[in-house]
Structures are given as structure tokens and as C-alpha cells.
Amino acid sequence: MSLEFTSSEMMSVTAARALNNSMTCFVGIGVPSEASNLARLTHAPDVTLIYESGTLQTKPDVLPLSIGDGELCESALTTVSVPEMFRYWLQGGHISVGFLGTAQIDRYANLNTTLIGDYREPKVRLPGGGGAPEIATNAQEVFVTVKHSKRTFVKDVDFVTTVGFGRDGKARDNVPNIGQGPTVVITDLCILKPDPETKELVVTSLHPSVTRKDVIDATGWNVRFADDVKTTPEPTARELKVLRDLKARTHAHHAGQQ
């Protein structure tokens, strides 16, 4: 039998599964936050979640709207200053996974959250880098999760806010003290991973009922597929229930706050 689920749910569940109990995860807001907490509430109860607001090992009951909501602090092991967070905990090498969203991503997994168009004459001005530029280089590895579309998946990002593997795939070569960068990109259609040699993102798994054409049509470059493309396992009933409960709880909580 097959469960009913949306492509967004498929993305969140798949992203959640990338985490495990031994990881210390620096969590970005949005889908990364949803996925991280889903992991914590399902198969990875001991995953350590850290938000850049300084909340170490936090266990919010509802998803935060901002990275500094009160729930994060009240459910944390402790809360440190923001300079300490970036210096001791991120740059100090204690983060195994940086979990990021993005507005644009290119074939070398470079991320753009700065702007669309030219820097001095932007078509669309985006929020900017935030914590991402250093999360991407100081975390041991990076997971990216983002909805798949031609607007998002571009051949070359307009601006490299946050380095994946650079314009040529070689930006991390011979750089000391740098993490391995994006190891997986999870979308609502598929899973992509960097080619071990060229670092170009390659589709390694298609979500149930998604076709190669769906992915090709939603990708702004001539995307390659791995030799052995898998089918991503469906969400389980438990995963869906926990995710939906979490979102309902979150919605009720934020709506109720006036």
C-alpha cells in the first residue's frame, strides 16, 4: 500500500533521514529546521541541534519562526553569545553538519542568498549571507535542502554567497582547515551528490513517481544522472504523522501568539 504525501513532505522526510544520532548539526531556518527536528523526533533522538543564535543542543517542541525564538533557548542545554557560537563552536571545529537552505544553487553546489542580477543593480535583493558562508567552510560537511526549479537550480549562481566547490569545482582544493563541503542536496524531486572527481552535482536518487524528465525540466543545466539511480524510499506512516503533528503544533503556536 502507498501513503499519500506531498513533495514537500517527501523532501523534509528525506532531509531528516540524512541526519543521525552522532551528528552535531548547525541548523538553518526553514526546511533544514523542519527536517532536523523531524529527525530528532523520529530516528535520531540524540542528534545535537545548534542554532546560530547561541542555543546549544536545543529541543524545541514547535518549530521556531526565527533562529532566536524563545523555545530554542528554553529547551537548550545552554545558550552562549553569538561571537562564542561562531568562534568556539563553528570555527572551533565542533560542527559535523551544516544544514542550509538557499535561494539559488549551481552545478558546483555554490549557494546564492544575496541577490538575483547584478550586485549594484539587483533584479531581486535577497537577505544576504547570514551564517552560511562560514558554516559551509567550517562544518565538516554540508547538507543542502531546497525546492527544485529552474529559477533555483542554475548553471552558475549570480553571486557566490556561500561556496560549494567554486566556479570550477576546485575551490576547496589545497585549502587548509576546510570542511568537505556539500555532500548531499535534497530537493522535492530527488537527491543529488557531487561527483567525487569533478564535484558537479549528479542525481543519485529519484523520489517515488518522479521521472528523469521532471528533474531535467526543473534544472538550469544539463544535469547528469548517476549510473545507478536509486528510488528514494517513501516516508513511513510514523514519519508523516510526526511531521504533520509538528507542523500543526507549530502553526497553532505561532497563530496563537499575538
Binding site: 531556518i29 533557548c73 553569545s81 552560511a132 558562508p133 557566490v160 582547515n177 501568539q257
Partner: protein, 271 residues
């Protein structure tokens, strides 16, 4: 020793046109009341610095207080864009706004360096990013011990630092609790500082290693209950998430924004 002042006096006396000003509060304890007083007093040509310019800077920028913004993430968290900020950057309304952008790590280190009295912060950052191409304040140095290339940014040493905190005692010592962000660093890095607090109490009730800023490191203290709303003050009130969402509609349009500003800032007196 800190001087106890009214909000009107504190802003009038310590913030001047053209100053470099940091209103900080990392998603928590954002000094909205102080920002509104800056708007009411019609301050102009401010260089505003803030890691996360959210609604308070959207309002100050829309009201025409700012000529330059230094920041690392400019959005309405969990909601979307800051429309007043975008209108200023893209269409120079109500005036041209110059921007200079960093990453969070760089700004956090720059505040830390400012508090530490240093001229620069050194960090392992900006590797592979295009930000150094558009921000001439980002330089690179070589470690004299290892040869590693490290990023350097100038310390932040503003004219005025403004924060909100939970409480002060009668001598002017201030307790900050919860997400302490960079509240202490801003006060220590600034030439002058204004701290608004929820209440003034006999005893701070602080733990032995609590984040307490001594009176002699602060310029002015203002009692401003609710002064962080619609952001929150741990132990006092929650974040008004509904208003953060509502702001998207208010700020999207110049007229609704101007009407909101008149009704909610100009026509409201000092707390």
C-alpha cells in the same frame, strides 16, 4: 556610572545626526522603543549597523533616518523581505541607502574585536565567497606562524550602541538573560551606550556567572517596559509573531507604511 534618563532624553542627548549607531538584539531583546524614539526625533544620516536588520531597521530606514546600512542578514525572519529596506536600496525611497554587507561570523567577530579594544578581527572566513569582491573592508592576512591565509575585518566601534535588557538595579548594573547575542559586545564596543530595560529592581537576582554589564560600562539607562516588543524579552513576554507576519503587508506599500508610522510611532508619545 550609568545615568538614568527618560527615553526622550537618552536619544536626544546621545544620538546625533550622522552618528554610527548599532541597535542590537539577536532576534531577542530588540530595542524597538529606542528605534521609535530615534524616528520621532527625526535623526538623519545615521550609519546603521546590525547583524540582522529586521523590522526595527525597516522602520528606521523607511522613516528616512539612515544613509548607510552595515549588516549580514536583512530579512523578516520566517516571513520574507524587508520591503522598506529594499525600496531604499532599489528605488532610493525615501532616500538613497548605501549598503555594506558581511557574514554573521565576520560581524560577530568584529563586535568581539570592538569590545576587546582591537582595531581588527581575524577569522577563518569568506573562503570562496564573492562577498570580499563587493566589500572593500574585507582583507586577508597571513598567519606569521603557519602561513595560513585568514580573513580580517575592521572592528566595529560605533558612536552609540543601543540594546534592550531584562532589568537594571538602582545602581545601573544590567542583567541580560537568554539569547544574549552580542548585547554585551555592543555596549563595550561603543563610545556611548543606551540600555533600555523592562524594569528597575532592587536586586538583579543574577547567578554568579550571569551576563551582567556593570553600571560604569554603560552611559544611559532607560526604563522602557515592553521596549523590545514585537520581539520578545525572555521572562517577560513572547514574540508577537502575528505582527511580524502582518508587517509584510504594512511595509509592502509606501502609503500603508507611512500611515502605520504616523499612527504607531509619531502619534505615540514616549513610554
Amino acid at each position: 556610572m550609568a545615568e538614568f534618563l527618560s527615553l526622550q532624553e537618552a536619544v536626544s542627548r546621545h544620538i546625533s545626526n550622522g552618528d554610527t549607531v548599532c541597535l542590537e538584539g539577536f532576534t531577542h531583546l530588540i530595542p524597538f522603543a529606542a528605534g521609535h524614539e530615534v524616528i520621532r526625533q527625526g535623526k538623519r544620516d545615521l550609519t546603521l549597523i546590525r547583524m540582522t536588520p529586521d523590522l526595527v531597521y525597516d522602520q528606521m530606514i523607511g522613516a528616512g533616518c539612515a544613509k548607510k546600512l552595515i549588516f549580514s542578514w536583512g530579512g523578516n525572519p520566517g516571513v520574507g523581505s524587508l520591503h522598506r529596506l529594499r525600496d531604499a536600496v532599489e528605488k532610493s525611497w525615501p532616500n538613497k541607502l548605501e549598503i555594506l554587507e558581511h557574514s554573521h561570523a565576520a560581524m560577530a567577530c568584529a563586535y568581539e574585536a570592538g569590545a576587546a579594544g582591537l582595531p581588527l578581527a581575524v577569522m577563518r572566513g569568506y573562503i570562496g565567497s564573492d562577498l570580499p569582491k563587493v566589500n572593500d573592508q574585507i582583507k586577508f592576512i597571513e598567519c606569521p606562524f603557519t602561513g595560513e591565509r585568514l580573513a580580517a575585518v575592521p572592528a566595529i566601534r560605533p558612536d552609540v550602541g543601543v540594546i534592550h535588557a531584562q532589568r537594571a538595579d538602582h545602581k545601573g548594573n544590567v542583567l541580560v538573560e537568554g539569547i544574549i547575542g552580542i548585547q554585551k559586545e555592543v555596549v563595550l564596543a561603543a563610545k556611548r551606550s543606551i540600555v533600555t530595560v523592562e524594569e528597575i529592581v532592587d536586586d538583579l537576582g543574577a547567578g554568579v556567572n550571569a551576563c551582567v554589564i556593570p553600571s560604569w560600562a554603560i552611559t544611559a539607562i532607560v526604563e522602557a517596559p515592553g521596549g523590545a516588543s514585537p520581539s520578545y524579552a525572555l521572562g517577560y513576554y513572547d514574540r508577537d509573531n502575528a505582527f511580524y507576519k502582518e508587517w509584510d503587508t504594512i511595509a509592502r506599500d509606501r502609503d500603508t507604511f507611512t500611515a502605520w508610522l504616523n499612527d504607531n510611532v509619531f502619534e505615540k508619545g514616549v513610554a
